[in-house]
């Protein structure tokens, strides 16, 4: 299965990453080499084999419905680049 530059561009868009044309070409090349090497997985017969859900077969981890104090607002906002009126500033949403 060859991955085209176009496909790499689509994936970049999905991942919210941007690459120059040269980088895209290189990435497509790397993708193809990596995926080619990884294609050997198809040699393994996995008919009826369940995908691993959790390596240790742990299940049912719950917490009780109890409220604990939240962060003070100043701390919650403390790492934000921009803050206004107690809120985080985000890019302009048109919708």
């Amino acid at each position: 299965m060859r991955v085209s530059e176009e496909e790499v561009r689509r994936v970049a868009e999905l991942a919210r990453l941007a690459f120059s044309e040269a980088e895209l070409r290189q990435l497509a090349g790397e993708f193809n080499r990596i995926l080619e090497a990884f294609a050997k997985l198809n040699e393994v017969d996995t008919t009826g084999v369940p995908p691993t859900a959790h390596v240790l077969k742990v299940k049912n981890r719950f917490r009780a419905d109890q409220v604990r104090p939240s962060l003070p607002r100043a701390e919650a906002l403390g790492n934000a680049n921009a803050v206004k009126d107690g809120s985080f500033v985000a890019p302009l949403i048109m919708e």
């Binding site: 999905l14 919210r16 995908p51 859900a53 959790h54 742990v58 299940k59 049912n60 981890r61 719950f62 917490r63 009780a64 419905d65 109890q66 409220v67 604990r68 939240s70 962060l71 607002r73 919650a76 906002l77 790492n79 921009a82 206004k84 009126d85 107690g86 809120s87 985080f88 500033v89 985000a90 890019p91 302009l92 949403i93 919708e95």
Partner: protein, 477 residues
């Protein structure tokens, strides 16, 4: 050509847990922005989710009440997409193994509407749109991580009326279960609708549109009606319906294209490795089933059968589990169901309306209402006095006995003393007596009023009427 509509709903209800689904922050509505957040629900690097067991229990309650199969193995998945209200850039939800599936809800007509699935997921934060011209938006993450259930119906609904009835019934059930307060205006109940048209009787489905931004029951009905008309027009003109998401614009009462299918996101669902599978044993599910309250439909049937109430009364009373409970509590101390129902639907509803009080917030002691109704029946209070006492009890919480004593509100049913008042009134109003005797029987009302005035409104009106007639008869020449 005649078309039939095919409608399915996706309903989101916020669960009324005390804490969020994956962290211990409070879920209270209306708190100041970003005061109910922590490293986990802000999606800070290195933080991990731990599932709130109440969220699972509540979802199963909903599933059982809606006749679903409860999964014995379930898991949580990540739904990946970028949006500023989504702190981790993925929503923890359930993809292929929801907690509940294959249920149904029955409409009044007897038609069963399939419930395809119910799953748990986390809510996103709230985006506040750009202050005019400032070129940015603001985000409040208080709501991020509030637990939701998403209920997906089969495309079994055929009319906007059915859709509205379904949603109303569903809402009533969720409130009865005590798992959500379902306030559409606060966003704790949200509904998207899928709708397509097909020629009447046809098997194949048409192209559907998804309707968003439906903020009330009325809007649901109107948005669907609008969309049916819009799609029918397109099809009648030989045009095609575009598969797209459309937004209901309340102000303009129309739907508007939001995005087409080509822009549909690739959510890249995969099992969330930070959470472990949920495997429910039958005993656990059985214990939840045993703890379910009587549901609205069953309660309504029972009120009709047990108390011989008209369907109309039973329907109104079971509109809220709290109200129905109140009604039954009144009947513990009072044995005329219809009278109690009348009083609740009349006086109580009026006062609650005036106060804007939800049934859940009703603090009135049902024994007080029973007491008032009994006193009216025994003639101790007139109906209007009863209403007065009731209003006082409603507003102050005082007992009827206290109110009656404080206000001196006792009905005079003592015949001898009332007859004295009646004869005095007749003596003081010879003209009216004359008029009455000359056939103007209407003046009886005036005379009754005078007796009432003399007794400060405490006379038993029925008795006044009888005594007046007797005394006037004596004066006939």
């Amino acid at each position: 050509m005649k078309f039939e509509a095919v409608i399915g709903l996706e309903v989101h209800a916020e669960l009324s847990t005390a804490s969020k689904i994956f962290c211990a922050c409070a879920t209270k509505y209306g708190a100041e922005a970003n005061t109910q957040t922590c490293p986990v629900c802000l999606g800070l690097p290195g933080t991990l989710p731990v599932l709130n067991e109440k969220a699972v229990e509540y979802c199963i309650r909903a599933g059982l009440a809606l006749n679903c199969r409860i999964a014995d193995f379930s898991k949580l998945d990540r739904k990946n997409y970028f949006y500023p209200d989504l702190p981790k850039a993925y929503q923890i939800s359930q993809y292929d193994l929801p907690l509940c599936r294959d249920g149904f809800l029955t409409l009044a007509s007897g038609k069963r509407i399939g419930i395809t699935r119910i799953h748990i997921e986390e809510d996103a934060g709230k985006l506040m749109h750009s202050p005019e011209g400032e070129g940015f938006s603001l985000v409040d993450y208080n709501r991020a991580g509030v637990p939701l259930i998403e209920i997906v119906t089969a495309p079994d609904l055929a009319t906007p009326e059915e859709a509205v009835e379904f949603l109303e019934k569903l809402r009533r059930i969720l409130i009865y279960l005590g798992i959500s307060d379902c306030k559409m205006e606060e966003g704790s109940l949200r509904c998207d609708a899928n709708i397509s048209l097909k020629p009447a009787g046809a098997e194949t489905l048409g192209t559907k549109t998804e309707l968003k931004n439906i903020n009330s029951f009325k809007a649901l009905g109107r948005a669907l009606a609008y969309e049916i008309e819009r799609q029918a027009e397109l099809l009648a003109e030989g045009k095609t319906v575009k598969q797209e998401t459309r937004k209901w614009e309340e102000a303009k009462q129309r739907t508007l294209s939001l995005r087409s299918k080509e822009d549909t996101q690739d959510y890249r669902y995969f099992p969330d490795p930070d959470l472990v599978p949920v495997e429910l044993d039958q005993a656990y599910v059985a214990a939840i089933a045993a703890s379910l309250p009587e549901l609205p439909e069953a309660k309504k049937r029972r009120l009709i059968e047990e108390y011989k109430l008209p369907e109309y009364d039973a329907d109104l009373l079971t509109g809220s589990r709290h109200l129905a409970d109140f009604f039954e509590a009144v009947l513990k101390d009072y044995c005329n169901p219809k009278a109690a129902s009348n009083f609740i639907m009349g006086e109580l509803f009026r006062l609650m309306g005036e106060e804007g009080l939800a049934p859940e917030a009703l603090a009135l002691n049902p024994a007080h209402l029973a007491d008032i109704l009994r006193r009216i029946d025994q003639g101790e209070l007139s109906v209007s006095q009863g209403k007065k006492v009731f209003e006082k009890a409603f507003r102050t919480g005082a007992s009827p006995a206290e109110i009656i004593a404080a206000e001196g509100l006792r009905q005079i049913s003592d015949e001898a003393s009332l007859r004295t008042v009646v004869t005095q009134v007749l003596a003081a109003h010879p003209q009216s007596v004359n008029d009455y005797l000359n056939g103007k029987t209407k003046v009886a009302q005036f005379l009754t009023g005078q007796v009432m005035r003399e007794t400060k409104g405490q006379a038993n009106p029925q008795l006044i009427k009888e005594l007046l007639e007797e005394e006037l008869a004596k004066l006939r020449p």
